[in-house]
Assembly symmetry: D2
Homo-oligomer: 134 residues x 4
């Protein structure tokens, strides 16, 4: 299991007139969680794209427990539980600044060769780094 | 079963550098589907809030089949399959302008009394209108 | 002077906790105004990009008079006052459903050749269509 | 003159199919600049709202020099040049990770009493803190 975390403050732009973070902004927070998880492994999604591999999303699930609030620093915990093949799943939990659980979710992505537009195996570099954890 | 549809054109703002609509923008499209479904019933979510009922989201699921493209008019089909109690579930399918399926998903919301902040039953007006279909 | 208009309903996603449309969402509304202005001329920005011309923005100005409200259908009036050379300026006015002025603004864009990445003249097709109005 | 800076990485969500940050996302970056400028003064916009003062935007200007890129850490420099009365203006400059200027802009806001909905003077606490710099 590879587990990492990052923090951010919801922006005013991300709230809605219910006075909380809009439900549709959590996929962006999950994205931040994913990207920082890769960075923790000394990898960058930017470089992965530059090397010809992209990762479109296949499936998203979000369960909303409590709403995140404007400017209250949230913690995004990101976990990879299984070694990726052509697909990879990131599990996320979001907590408020008091440690209360706000949201859980998961995102499944597929590795795609940008030239052939076809699914391909997880890049070796990522696979090898994850092998030490998962 | 209550079923309705609406159309919109993805904005440039909604694309990402993969050249397609960003995965996190579909919840907004589902929101458009929900709101127009209510309008089809001569109801407005705006009025519902004005009358003291809000509808936070409990659960979101999205399955990505093909990406939506900039400016290509998509059709959002919204279905309510069950009579709501304190919760209501909207099912969504999104099609491109050629009728190809792009995305499926569902959103579960809960009716909340804005004063007590507690769950409540589906407003009668909505329930009665849905009864004719579901 | 070429003048056209289009309508849209602000989404819940576009509001913020002040209970109105977030100030940073108006550039998206201006984008909708621009794209529909081109469509009114039987042109599409999508086709323009496909033909190798893109239009990055150089300058944006917005003056906020009254806030737009959730679900209240706004009218976006878009005007082109001058024949474009390598640059084109769109002027925008946004009105609420009662005809009250909400926002004014302008967006200056430059025509860029996607291969050379350099500024170029306004595509002839657009220029010729605008000549009849401006 | 009060001057401060903060950093952030543009998200994939914030890019568009031109492969750069969408022009309409810079107002959000300016918002981050403003909020962090206040925090630098030991003030929070959140607390200001809680105390009954809100700050709607009156005017926005952006000049786009070079586009910001996905994941490349940008620096947002925020300056207040004049002591606020009922209005306050924030000047912004955004730089890429190499120190190249990407964007300049300014945002003028007005202090509004949330009860009366009328303009009011800059809260004393903010005024007094700025007095030492401006």
């Amino acid at each position: 299991m590879f587990k990492t975390q990052t923090k951010l403050r919801p922006r005013y732009a991300e709230t809605d007139q219910m006075g909380v973070v809009y439900y549709g902004n959590y996929p962006q927070y999950f994205e931040v969680g994913r990207v920082e998880a890769l960075r923790e492994l000394n990898l960058s999604y930017k470089d992965m794209e530059a090397s010809g591999v992209m990762m479109p999303v296949l499936e998203l699930k979000v369960r909303y427990v409590q709403p995140a609030l404007y400017d209250d620093e949230i913690k995004i915990v990101t976990t990879i539980n299984e070694l990726p093949k052509t697909r990879i799943t990131f599990e996320h939990e979001i907590y408020d600044s008091n440690g209360k659980l706000l949201t859980t979710g998961s995102v499944q992505l597929v590795f795609v060769d940008m030239k052939s537009k076809r699914p391909r195996k997880c890049p070796e570099e990522l696979y090898n780094k994850l092998k030490d954890f998962v």
